[in-house]
Amino acid sequence: MATEQIITQVNDIFKDVLENDDIVLTPATTAADVEEWDSLNHIQLIVAIEKKFSIRFTTAEIYTWKNIGDMCAMIAQKTQK
């Protein structure tokens, strides 16, 4: 799946879980850029993304992400398998 396509789908999940239709994600976006993206919502986001793409992240993998770009790269990698 193309990275752009993944970002669009992840963006939709963010809008839904965080209940804010104005969210626009870019590869450089971090938690500090999105007001509602706190540690509690983070848990819900991960669960929703795992479900959407039918993949599982390990705890260690989640720790390595610095921004949306890292997250989407990992989704791309896992969905290719």
Partner: protein
């Protein structure tokens, strides 16, 4: 089942008009999501749950410190959620493995006792999700020193504790998680990273269970199940297929319908009223109930049988009026989505489950909805079907009399009047918790409260049974009187079951209240009406009985009171 996101969205709705209830949540794990799930599901049940969530893992501190935030908040409900994961850690630290369950049960009993002494509150605890830690493998089920053995013993012990204490309720996470499967209730990452022990997809089930317990203790429980017939209670169409060809018992997928009927009969025995509402010719529709050998439900099980060609909305309204119960306490089961939609849009308060297309799925679906939660069960509940059947007979007799007095005299009514005793106590508490219509002040009392009142020198209680030539109506009225001054006796509670309306019971009751007042030297009886959405029928109650208005209350002098006419004979 709603999703966790749906529950979050519920909280954004305008819920200012819903019933506010104060709830405290204490947990040994991170409870933010449980908080959201309970409040979110509460909205579904018409409750605005105002929640105080204690800090992480503060159960003992909050309960045992009398100056804690918990007591300052003074909640009506306290929810204590404890996790199997934390239990496992305590178990591994325990030396006396075989005594572990008893120790935890004793601790829980002590938590409950402390809470109930310090607060007027209902406590909800959970059974533990059942897992095998696989230290013993299968042998765990064969030794008392395994975690599995102690865990199951603990769960049963907690249930026994709830049996003994009416103010203690259980959200049965053990059976909920076995329904979903442990792998779907526990999320390893959420546990390791955030100490959250329930996965996102299990949270709605927890929210549902806890808010349903709260709703049912508040009297918001279902009393009546209205059933469609063709393809709901049996397979096929009785009018087209004929009685020999409907699917029930061993014919075709008859088993699915037999299962449903068995469940309905169990509900009936528990006190849920069954009614039929079907588009059919009455005689044809009743035939299987009378003579089909595989039918579980018989005509006697159905309190009200409505089969005709009118529309179902009118028929359900008719059933509601005859039974005289709230539309929101009724459930309508129908396989036809069109009929369901029509009924649902005309009567939004009615619960109309979207039955699955395949009858094989009916029972699984209905069990998950948990429609018939109840906060209590008394002997009286079992007889309810018979009482409502008698009610229908009385209605038909009434039509034969020209005037009301002749009709009432013909009923040959007797009433047993007593103070509350240990036999009537559960029913009295149940009436105060459940009655919404003929209830002057709608003050709710649990068993412990009623015990306290019946032992108090400043209170007088009266309970009334009513029998007539059609049968025994059971305990149908409760009066609680409170001494407010040397001369004034205040009617704290006046509740009457709506099934004995228009029988002159009000007059008979008042005569008895005046008797109590005179016997104890009170010159004045004071009544009060506190309006709610549902008790409009008693708005003019005291005026009709000859009380005089004085500000917000109604007064009656006992000196010059003349006993009112009644067709009810009292007996002790």
């Amino acid at each position: 089942m709603l999703s966790f996101s749906d529950l979050k969205k519920n909280l954004k709705k305008d819920i200012t008009s819903l019933t506010p209830v104060k709830v405290a949540l204490l947990a040994d794990s991170a409870s933010q999501f449980i908080n959201t799930a309970i409040r979110g599901y509460g909205v579904e049940l018409g409750l605005k749950l105002e929640l105080y969530e204690a800090d992480y893992n503060q159960i003992e501190q909050q309960v045992y410190d009398p100056t804690s935030e918990l007591y300052a908040f003074a909640p009506s409900y306290i929810v204590i959620i404890q996790s199997t994961e934390h239990l496992l850690h305590s178990f591994y630290k325990e030396d006396n493995r075989a005594g572990f369950a008893n120790e935890v049960i004793a601790k829980t009993a002590d938590l409950y006792t402390t809470l109930s002494q310090r607060l007027k509150t209902q406590v909800i605890i959970n059974t533990y999700v059942e897992i095998n830690d696989q230290v013993f493998g299968s042998y765990a089920a064969k030794t008392k020193t395994s975690f599995l053995y102690q865990l199951r013993k603990l769960n049963l012990g907690l249930m026994d504790l709830a049996v003994e204490n009416t103010g203690l309720h259980i959200t049965d996470l053990a059976s909920l998680s076995s329904f979903k499967g442990y792998q779907n209730t526990f999320d390893t990452k959420m546990y390791i990273n955030a100490d959250m022990v329930f996965g996102i997809d299990f949270l709605p089930a927890i929210g549902q269970s806890i808010s349903q317990i709260i709703a049912s203790t508040l009297g918001k429980s279902k009393k009546c199940l209205v059933l469609d017939l063709d393809n709901t209670l049996w397979g096929g169409v009785i009018g087209d297929d004929g009685m020999e060809n409907i699917m029930i018992g061993s014919l075709g997928m008859g088993k699915a319908f037999t299962q449903l009927q068995l469940w309905c009969r169990e509900l009936k025995n528990r006190g849920i009223i069954l009614a039929v509402c079907s588009k059919n010719t009455l005689e044809i529709a009743q035939e299987p109930f009378i003579s089909h050998p595989d039918m579980v439900l018989k005509l006697d099980d159905i309190s009200l049988f409505v089969a005709n060609w009118e529309n179902k909305v009118d028929n359900i309204r008719y059933i509601q009026q005859v039974l005289n119960i709230g539309m929101d306490s009724m459930v309508f089961l129908d396989d036809n989505p069109f009929e369901r939609e029509m009924v649902k849009s005309a009567i939004p308060e009615l619960t109309v489950p979207s039955l699955p297309d395949d009858p094989a799925d009916y029972m699984l679906f209905l069990r998950e909805l948990n429609l018939f939660d109840t906060a209590s069960f008394t002997e009286d509940d079992k007889d309810r079907t018979e009482q409502y059947r008698q009610q229908a007979q009385r209605t038909s007799l009434q039509n034969n009399f020209a005037n009301e007095a002749d009709y009432l005299a013909s009923l040959d009514m007797h009433s047993r009047v007593n103070a509350v005793d240990k036999f009537t106590l559960p029913r009295v508490a149940q009436l105060t918790l459940r009655s919404n219509q003929f209830n002057l002040r709608t003050i709710r009392y649990n068993d412990a409260d009623i015990t306290e009142i019946s032992n108090s020198k400043d209170h007088f209680t009266l309970t009334f049974n009513l029998e007539d030539k059609f049968g025994d109506n059971g305990l149908i009225a409760v009066i609680i009187l409170k001494k407010t001054t040397e001369d004034n006796l205040f009617i704290d509670t006046w509740i009457m079951s709506c099934r004995v309306l228009k029988r002159g019971m009000e007059n008979f009751t008042l005569n008895n209240i005046v008797q109590v007042a005179r016997d104890n030297g009170f010159g004045k009886i004071v009544g009060e009406y506190l309006p709610t959405k549902k008790n409009g029928i008693v708005k003019d109650h005291y005026q009709n009985l000859g009380f005089t208005q004085n500000g917000d209350v109604w007064e009656l002098n006992t000196d010059n009171y003349i006993n009112k006419q009644t067709f009810i004979t009292g007996k002790q």
